[in-house]
Structures are given as C-alpha cells and as structure tokens.
Amino acid sequence: MTLKNNCDYLYLHVPFCNNICGYCDFVRTINNESLVDKWLEALKIEIDSNNINPNLNTIYIGGGTPSCLSIDQLEKLFLYLSPYLSNVKEYTIEINPESITIDKLELMKKYGINRISVGYQSNDDKMLSFLGRKHTYLDTVKAINNIKEVGINNISLDIIYGLPNQNMADLKSCIHDALILKPTHISLYSLQIEENSIFYKNGISNIDAELEADMYEYIRNVLADNDYLQYEISNFSKYGYESIHNKAYWNYEDYYGISCGASGKENHRRYDKTNNIYSYIENPLERDYIELNREDEIFEYIMMGLRKVEGINIKSFYETFNINIFDIYKEIIDKHINNGNIIVNDNIACSYKGLAILNEILIDFF
C-alpha cells in the first residue's frame, strides 16, 4: 500500500555554510567540497525515491547557506528538482551576499527560481562581524543589484534586531538602509539566544524586554508607513508578495521535508530527517516520525494559524476537524476577546497588541 502523496509544498535543506554564525542553531556543517558531492548523491536518491507530486505549488531551498555551493553543485541540485516544476508558483532559494555571484544567479534564473531570500541581517558592518557574518552592507547592496540584473524581482530580506547593545537609532538606520533596496518582502526576527548557538555558549544575553518591545512596535509602524503589510508575526510584504510557501506552514498544510536537517509533515505525521550529514549520506531515506493525534493537530493548527494577521478561518477549521472551534475553546476565546487580544469575525485573529503576546494566548489553548 502506498500512501497518497499529494503535498503541494517542498522544503529542501542545504546543510552547509562557509562559516558558522554565532546566533544560528540550524543544522549546518562547514562547506567541504567532497562532502557536498556525497550529499548530492544521497539527495538524488531521496528525491527519486519519494514519489514527489509533480505539480508542486512551491519549493523552498533553505539552509545553511545554499549559495555556498559551487555552480556545478547548484546545477545538479536544480536538475534534481526540475521534474517537479510544472505548476510551481513560488520557487525560493536563500542566499548570503558574500557567496552569491552573477553566474550563480543566472543559473538560478535559468532553472526557474523566482524568489530570493537574502541574509541581510544588519546594515552595520561591525554588527555583521559580531554576528559571525562574512559580508558587509556593501556586499548586500551589490548582491541585490545583481539579483535584479538577472531578472529576479521578488526579493526578501532577513533582518535581525534586538542585537546586544543595539539602540533605537541603530535599528532605524538598519531599517532605512533595507528599505532603500526596495525588497518585496521583509522578515524581521528579534535575536533569540538559542541553546545550540555559539552566543549562548559565550554567555550573551537578550536585550532589555522594554527596548525589544519598543523596537517591534517601531518596525510594525515604519513598515506599514512604507506599504509593507504585516501578514505574520515576523513577516511583512508588498501587496501580493506574501510568501506562499511560508503561509503553507501557518495554514498547517502538509509539505515534503527533503535532505539532512529538514522536517516535513505528511498524512498526520511529522518527521525529522537526521541532523547528521554522515548518517544522511549513509541512509538518505530515513525519517524520524512523530504521529500526530487529533489533539496535537488542533493545537498546532491554532498555534500556527494565530501567527497570521488574518488568523484562523472559522469555516476552514470546521472543514479540517469537523468540529466548531467554539465548541472546544469558547471560554478561552471569550476571555481573550474581553482582554482585547483576539478579534472574531469570519476569522479568529489576534488584535494588534495580541499578536505581540501570542505566547500568553497560546498557553491558554494548551
């Protein structure tokens, strides 16, 4: 018996970087050419064996640093994925400014990439170097010019704020210098000192909570003023440029997770691929499954759905779970309506202030 295989979304993880950033806790290994070649062989096996839906909606190549692969390696990767592109609307790859060349960008364009997510992070070269990044602000400007040059116009910037010693003026200049690059999409993450990161091990701590809240508020305001619509807690875009792929996560859709360090969700099961590159090369098909029961799925649906500014569609919830969300959570929803944290119409959504304290709301839904 084969499971029906109808995911519309595919995530592929490139577990290599040229260097390791201090804040990162993703799966990544320092780039090593022969290791990448072995990984590519394993990747081919995995992609070919998975009976992937040829009519994918989106593909997202993340990392790690996908752009640190060589031209030849990138081309192999794109070729592996080319059979599944017929219906793809959004095909994203993450790049870092220092490892992207016009040749690589032309290759990307050639193989159908139509969205590029750039690791901008900061406009302050000192801050970039503190973060362990190997690029400067100028590198970012050049990279973006090159991306536009090859004809890819859907560009997203990843920005980190709440850096140690960062003040409000620093943040304002950081956002200003990002906006002049005219991206279609911006993701802004406050720095979280994650336990697996180098920062955590070096004892660096998060900034003052009040300042961080001020920064978040400033970001929401300044981006709105510049016609970037917030559609998720950390994501903003020009009209029509919301990330289809990322919205699939928040809509709790199924998706393929391919390669070392990825995870996916198919048929009421979530799975993790191994985090160890050598185990992956050894056994590229292995997945570590977590069965999701109905209770898990309902909570996770809410946990993801309330991240969206539009919130959860009451009808869609009913169609997914065959139960009215109010039959389960009326008391909690009412409480948060009264608190001013939640707004209800066709959807159940966080208010402006509620979105910033989503954890407080979700705790009640547990």
Binding site: M303, N341, L362
Partner: protein, 604 residues
Amino acid sequence: MMKQENIRNFCIIAHIDHGKSTLADRILELTETVTQRDMKTQLLDDMELERERGITIKLNAVQLKYHAKDGEDYIFNLIDTPGHVDFAYEVSRSLAACEGAILVVDATQGVQAQTLANTYLALDNDLEIIPVINKVDMANADINRTKREIEDIIGLDCSDAPLISARTGENVEQVLEQIVSKIPAPKGDIDKPLKALVFDSFYDVYRGIIALVRIREGAIKLGDNIRFMATNAEYDVLELGIRNPNEVKVDSLKAGDVGWLSASIKSIQDVRVGDTLTLKNNPADKPLEGYRKLNPMVYCGLYPSDADKYDDLHEALDKLQLNDASLIYEPETSQALGFGYRCGFLGLLHMDVIQERLEREYNLDLIATAPSVIYHVYLTDGTMLEIDNPAKMPDSSRIDHMEEPYVRANIMVPDTYIGAVMDLCQNKRGIYIGMDVIDTGRNTLIYEIPLSEIIYDFFDRLKSSSKGYASLDYELIGYKKEDLVKMDIMLNGEVVDALSVIIHRSEAYKRGSGITIKLKELIPKQQFEIPVQAAIGGKIIARTNIKSLRKNVLAKCYGGDISRKKKLLEKQKEGKKRMKSVGSVVIPQEAFMSVLKVDDDPKK
C-alpha cells in the same frame, strides 16, 4: 551486667563537615558493632534530609563493646547530637547525658564557628573533651596550625591528640583508647530513687512514643510505674532496651546506663526533652537541673499551592509532630492563599527543615509566608492580644501600644570581625550589653536584639560579616515596648494579606521600598500595568510599577521546529501553574518569602 566503672558515655562534636559522622562509622566498625558489609555510610544520620544537609536533626544513641588494651571490656554509649543553634537546647540535653566528648577538628580547616559553639556547650555540661585532629591524610592538612588553634582559641591541650583519618580509619583506635583512659566512668548511686534524663524521643508506629534516657541515679525495670516530673504524665514501663545499633531488649537499666523505654505513650507532649523520669512509688525529691519547656519562637503560614492538597498537608503535619514536640500548627485562612496552617517553630532552621520534609517526604508543593514572631498588642480597652500573624493585627485605632520579643544574643567572634559584627547588631536595633574576652583573639559580644531582627536575615549577615567565624547563641529574655506598625503590600490596589509585615516604624520606608522593588523583580509582567505599593494604615509609603507585558512571542516558527516551540510554551505554562492568582494578579510562590530576602542595605 557491666560494672559502672567500665561504662563510657560520650558524644562527638564538630563543625559541619569536619567528619563527625565518618568517625562514628569507623568507631562502629572498629568495635565490631557493625560489620563493614552491613555498613551504610554514616549510619547515625538515618534521615535522607540529614545526610543531604550534613546536619543531624534527631538524636540517636548506640551502645558499643570495646576490648581495650588494658585487657578489660568496656561499654561505650555513643550519643549523637544535632548541630545548629535552633537545636542548641536539645544538643545541651544530649551532652548532659554524657561524661565526655570527642571534639573533631578538620586539619584542613582548623577551628571553625561551630567547633567553638559546641565546645562551650560541652564545657557547660562539665564534659571531659578529647581533641581529635581529622583528615590528616589530606594533602592540604596543616596539623601544627590546627593544634595551635585548638590550644590558643579553645585552650585544650593537644600534645597527645590523636591524628586520624576517619575516612581511612588511620589512628582511630587511639581515639578508642583515649575514651577509656580520659573520659570518666559515670557516677550515680544505684540505690537512690530513680532520676533518668530524657534526652530524645521518637515515634514508633507500633509502640507509641519511645523515650531515650540516661539513668543518673537509681534503676528502672520492666513494669515500673514511672512519672515524667515536668509533665506529671505517668505510665507503666512495657519495654526497656539499648541499640547496638539494632534494638536489644533488656530487663532493667541502672545508674550510668543509656537506653530507651516504651510505655504505650501516645502524646509526644508528655515526653519532653530535658525532663526527668522517676518512679511513682519512690520518687526523687527534685528533678535534674536544666529542663526548659520549648516554645515556638517563629511562626509562618504554610499553604498548599494546590488547594486540593489541604488535607494532605494536615495529615503530613500530624505525622511530623509525632516525632517533633516543638512543631505546633493550627488552621488559618488567607484571602490570598486560601486554606493553610499557621505553624510555630523553634527557629529558622527548624522551619526550613520542616518545610523541606513536607515537600520531600510528603510530596507537597508549599507556599510559605514570611516568618513572624509573637507580638503583644495592648488595646485601648486594656486587653492584650498575642499576634503571630500580621494579617490578624487589629486596626491601629484600637491599639494603645505594642511589645515585641527580645533575645539576649551571645555572639562569639574573633578580634578581626568585632567591628563588622557590632555594626550589624547596631543596624538590627541591637542594644549593646557588653563584651567578654574569652581567650586570645576570641570574644563574646552580648547584645539584646529584637527576635524579629534575628529571623529577618541575621544569620546570613553575621556569616558574611565574619567570614563564617562568628557563632550565635540566643535566648528569649522577654518583651519590650516598641513603636511597631503593620505594613501592607498592595498589588493592583488590593492588599495581599499574606505579604503584610509588622515592622519598626523607623524602618518602614526602607523596608517598604525594598519589598516593592523586590516584588517588581519577582512578579512577571502581566497583560496590564500593576502598581506595587507599601502602605501603613492606608498611607502609601512606597510605590513602583510592574509594566505591562508587551511582547511574548516566538519570533520564528516555521514547519520544522513545532515540537521544540511547543515545549517552550509548555514550560511557560508550567511556570504559570506554579503561581498563585491573587485578585487579577498572578504571583510566583517565592514572592511570599521575598519580604524576608530584601537587601536592606543596598549599595547604590
């Protein structure tokens, strides 16, 4: 039956971690009381908590047989002693059951505060003291310095002090020989009327309260009709025995012996440590000296954090009290905390120990309010109320004046730290009474200090201002009139009764702002701004605000990390569960003790 001349009754005294229990273990092994195979390390400390804290709470007595080099057989009664100021009275009673004490001093550390305090207690009881230098096998042992300290500071001759390693057993036999040669045999006339010192008691499920006794004069045998002279309780002796360390039953105990007795005693209140046991039909004319009725000096409220556990708390307190006559409790209600118990303790350590036992042995999650002393509140109509709970204070308009308990504190302190310790006592409203020079470099400072100041943070401050070298002993001396006020703490405009404290008016501003600032640190931000105020009689004397929570959200959450993010939320939820809702405000458990932990001398 052993001749009285061949009995040796002794205890081991030491500073914490200097090797008291390890030496006891070696002695048990060497006298073949316990084979090495059966030996659990540190046999005398049989409560889990005792072992962890390295302190001995309950006493124990073990009988050992020793064949000495003089060819004679001896009976050793080794009496264990607790080691903290809260239990000083109990220590002194178990010392009173002995003729001698082995003073263990760690050669890597030398003389420490408790070395001194315990030695003085032993000297008070006229014990022969055998100094023993322990841990001589350690690389950093300094035997000469340690000897010199014992000779200079305590004044004990160390020329033939055994140099031992209790860990390896090295030279422990010398200790046994000195017990024989130096500690006097007990005296006491077997034909006189019975006088037996009760030095400990414990509860046995099948036999009721068991009393541990040292027979001073006369003898006791099965079936005797006995009387506890302080409580006048009378019983028939059902069982007599010794422990070696297993229980061995005997028919009689006579002057010089140490043993236990059971008599179907149901109430621990009848068997008070320090009381004298005599025969009903042939009573002693007067009891042994030194008996004191122990009264709780410190009270606090104990509440289950889960209200459903109230009955469990009651049951646990009942059980603990069977072994501990000094623990008292009665139900009380708090608006903030619900149903709980007001509990009385001998001191702060006693309070900590009981709390920990309740949490650990009875699996209870407790909220404790800040401890309080008993205040005498004189009303305008001439009546007097005893108040041990600030929430119960009558309205100030009804109060004529108030009194608070004072202690006489004897603080032993080396020269170097006298200034710092005097500063501390002054800050604690202490009244200087005098200073005795005990020995070169050692002094006793005598102060009269309000008990409330002692329980506030005196121990910690004393320790830090003397690098641990000062030791404290205190006794209640009575009540003094003081200008005392009740300070309320308000959260979001509502008084939280469990946070109220009674303080001296002169300290109200300092303490009020200290507590409000501490609460601001401890109480997590909530979805609205919370004013934190300290008030006396409705007048606000300190105020701060807990700002509202503006951001608590996971920055990144895509497909892969759901499990981990869920765990984060779960943690936040667990943290919230452990807090108490008071009105609209959620308060973490530790906040209720925070009124104690305020640094009232902030270095700004």
